[in-house]
Amino acid sequence: MLNASAYGQSFSGKKNNIDNEPLERMVVTGTRSELAQSRSPISIDVISGVELQQVSHGTLASALNYIPGVVTKRNSKDGYTVQMQGFDGDHVLVLLDSQPLISPTGSSVDLDQISVLNIERIEVLRGAASVLYGSSAMGGVINIITRKQARNSGKFRYQASSYTQNSIDSGDVAGLYQLDLSQMILGWQGSVSAQKIDDPGFDYDENTLAQSAPSTDKTFVNFGLARTFGEINLALKSRYFSDEKTKLRYAIPGQTGDISYLSDVEQWQQDFSLSKEQLWKVQGRYLQHDETSGDSNGLRDAIIKLAELDSQYQWQLKDFSFVSGLVLHRDELYQIKQPVVSSSTGDATSNGTIEIDDKGRNSAEGYTQGSWQVGEHELVAGVRVQHDSDFGWHSATRVNGLFALNKDTHNAWQLRVGAGQSYRVPTLKERFYVFDHSNLGYMVLGNKFLEPETALSANVEMSYQGSVGNLLALGTSTNQQRSPRLSLRANAHYAKAEDFITTVTDAEASAQTGLLISRYENVDQTYIKGVDLSAKLSWAKVDYQLSYSYLHATDDDGAYLSDRPTHQIKSNVNWQLPFDINLLAYVVYEAGEHQNSTQTGIEKDDWLSVNLSVNQHINEQWQWNAGVDNVFDEHQDSTAIASGLLDVRPLASRRLFAGVTYQFY
């Protein structure tokens, strides 16, 4: 990632006078209290909202691919999820302002349903964090922190992009429109932001009926009101999101028509937050997600609801500081396969098939994490206890330590260690799903007796913050201060996960029904170990970062887990040029993915993506940007995928883009 000075130069148009001296970022995710990034006992990476705008096309979908160690995956609904430290999207917790979001596919949030428009920063915590955040925080936590507007501003941005040779129709242009307003009125800080994405999709082969990526039409609207009453901060937020997708898939056998994948999503979110700085906070969220999706000949309606009340209190006891919290949470899910409609009369000829019958779960969760500051060192220990309406009690504990190996802040060596438990509660789908394909000989059924998945994990991280001169002990202190700033990090992690939920054949039910009955069960064990290495160098007007991640993930039988890269290399260069021009190039390389049981061979098990962008502030009002994603148009081969081969290249396309931004005030 870029360091603070780099983007400060790039987007303010002013050079930071303190050469190579990064601004210290504040983070909250590691301890649920705000503290300097370097003081966090749990390692946190930060990507700023400005950086996100530079590497995204309106949503977080592709933006997180920029973050070292994060693997982004496109799912069957053409959404995007992330993997961290070998855990898939169901085991990585995505938070918005420290509270969970709805997960339309299992436990994994679709990153393509989150706008980058009003994001201040994203904090990335690698590894387990169930003590502070509960379910799903097994491989990591991505905490999206929205902007707290502090000044009046108004901005409009338009960006056009083209999928070049993969465009469905020549001349297809994807449009991104953003409007961002903030105004102080009668002591209230009000904000409105809106974003529209109109994307025609792309297609690799015009001679086939099936379309590679869907056409989408997304709308995001955010409202915010905030006010301070003495020491009390009040914030009210509403978020609206809609998404329509269409993708041609198949010809109807024996008929002249076609079947398309359709998705129509609407989401409403209401948040409130009441807090007293660094003392207590109460925040609540209600989120409803209405979705109609599926192939056009078998659509499903789903209504997903989430309600959460989260309170926390920070307190001190001699040399110990504590954060304690209570979380009340409810999930609801209703899913029905739409009734059959007569093609001649338009009338329903049957009732719909209820697949999840308005099920819900409640949980009450309490946690306490204590921190013991001993000089420059810090020890942290925490416990979380959860009572769930379905499976009863569950708990997790974890300890972390931060050890400063020297006292020179210009030449800081730090050791971070952590070990403990994490878990994921079964989803309502895993508990109550009834997928009836009995006329084709099989059914998939939920299992209400599922228990939480659990993991024991540990990690060790050594980091260095300083300069090349200090590290190599070169020259005078003056020379050392002018020496390129250097940040190094090496992290090793290990996790043993148990009771992972997967579908297995229910022998007894299959024998009784004559069908192949699959049922969700707590059966799988997983062993994950890996190493993350990262180096950042800031020298004059250039910032350079190189990272490498290695992963070894196997099941109980020693077989490699599929769908995960063994090796990942990411690199980016950010170069500040004259005339306030900023260049960014970043590269992603992944290799060594293993076949799953249904794949019959390997078409390609590595891929490389090269991405370039440039932007310039012309004056206080105008700026422009342009670039090309996936320069070499690295993408999967649909024919190979259809024939059962492993092809790890993403469903992606080269994309040329150019945009302009106007700042009203």
């Binding site: 008929q255 000949n297 059959v340 093609s343 001649s344 000829t349």
Partner: protein, 374 residues
């Protein structure tokens, strides 16, 4: 005999009147019967006819002679001889009524849709449509009608039934077939048995002796135990006989029994029928060569256990479709041509689609014509 071309036309007229598609449930109004000049070409496709959903399946009963859907409940259909062929989701049924025992013969005109290993040639399925397969259909004529015994009807088969004895047609002596083993999965227990002796009394059985071996999975058994003999006296029975192998005794109907033999009286002699059944919630298989020393309960579904009575559908012997050829969970017709022999005539038939125009599954379209010798 009605003219099938006329029947087809009647159905087409009905479909046209309904806006290009038939009613999509089995309560469709039968086609009008007004007199029309029979100028319908061979191979006209009729349908789609909806067979409901997986959760709410409905049956479409079709009379090939009349060329129309008959509005029948399943109970009425069981007693009805007018319909010839019926559809319910992926299943195709033939009438088994004594007055119209319909048989089917598969002409296999599209054998090239499968390779030499029997695997589907995906492109053949995906590229075929009603137009491209019309010539294969038209190529079938009365000259292709095989001998009558080549036609196969739907049937029911008991998993045990009468398989436990041999009948000598010359001596009319019934004897136990003690080489044939059966395994019953009932009440969390596997019981392997064979009939090692039986005593006939007229056309009934007065006693039967089983060789029984038990694998009690609840008790931790991992294989069948040693065989022991169990003799049941069935002479002068007053009710059906219910036998529990674990207890080694005849019980009442309300107990947890494994097999049952009907009690009957023939020519004033009362005894058991030569017929063995299992309970509704039990499964069984024929262990022809005493192959299984153990049953792995985790893999029980792969042994081939079936319920007491199974339907053997003629169309299942040569499936008309392939499933999920391109990842879309769709059914693709093989466009095979079936010959359907009813009590009055022989028809050729080709299923052209399982979908309506919107892609809704369970909607059959097909073409059919009577085969008339020149």
């Amino acid at each position: 005999m009605k003219i099938s071309y006329l029947a087809s036309l009647s159905t087409v007229l009905l479909l046209t009147a309904c806006g290009g598609s038939s009613s999509t449930d089995s309560s469709a109004t039968p086609s009008p019967t007004e007199s029309t000049t029979p100028v319908v070409e061979q191979g006209t496709v009729v349908g789609p006819f909806s067979t409901g959903t997986t959760a709410e399946p409905t049956s479409v009963y079709f009379d090939l002679d009349a060329g129309e859907v008959l509005v029948l409940t399943d109970e009425e259909a069981a007693e009805n001889s007018a319909w010839d062929i019926a559809f319910q989701r992926t299943k195709v049924y033939l009438n088994t009524h004594v007055d119209n025992a319909v048989g089917a013969f598969f002409t296999d005109v599209n054998s090239e849709f499968y390779d030499e290993t029997g695997a589907a040639v995906v492109d053949s399925f995906l590229n075929a449509d009603a137009d491209s397969e019309l010539d294969d259909y038209l190529g079938i004529s009365a000259a292709d009608i095989p001998e009558e015994d080549s036609f196969i009807g739907d049937s029911e088969e008991s998993v045990i039934g009468a398989k436990f004895y041999d009948y000598d047609i010359t001596t009319h002596v019934v004897s136990a077939n003690d080489d044939r083993y059966f395994i019953v999965d009932s009440d969390s227990m596997y019981s392997k048995f064979r009939v090692i002796d039986l005593t006939s009394d007229g056309r009934t059985m007065s006693s039967i002796t089983f060789g029984v071996a038990i694998q009690n999975t609840l008790a931790g058994d991992t294989e069948f135990g040693a065989e022991s003999a169990l003799t049941i006296n069935t002479a002068n029975c007053t009710d059906d006989i219910y036998i529990d192998f674990d207890l080694g005794a005849a019980l009442s109907a309300s107990d947890a029994w494994d097999i049952t033999l009907p009690c009957t009286t023939v020519d004033d002699i009362t005894g058991a029928e030569f017929d063995i059944h299992i309970a509704v919630d039990a499964q069984a298989l024929v262990d022809e060569d005493n192959t299984y020393a153990t049953i792995d309960s985790e893999a029980a579904q792969y042994y081939g256990f079936t319920s007491d009575v199974t339907q053997e559908l003629a169309f299942d012997k040569n499936s008309w479709y392939q499933y999920n050829l391109n990842g879309g969970h769709l059914l693709w017709s093989q466009y095979g041509v079936y010959l359907i022999k009813t009590s009055d005539a022989t028809f050729k038939m080709q299923i052209t689609s399982y979908y309506d125009e919107a892609g809704t599954s369970g909607n059959y379209s097909f073409r059919f014509d009577e085969l008339i010798s020149e």
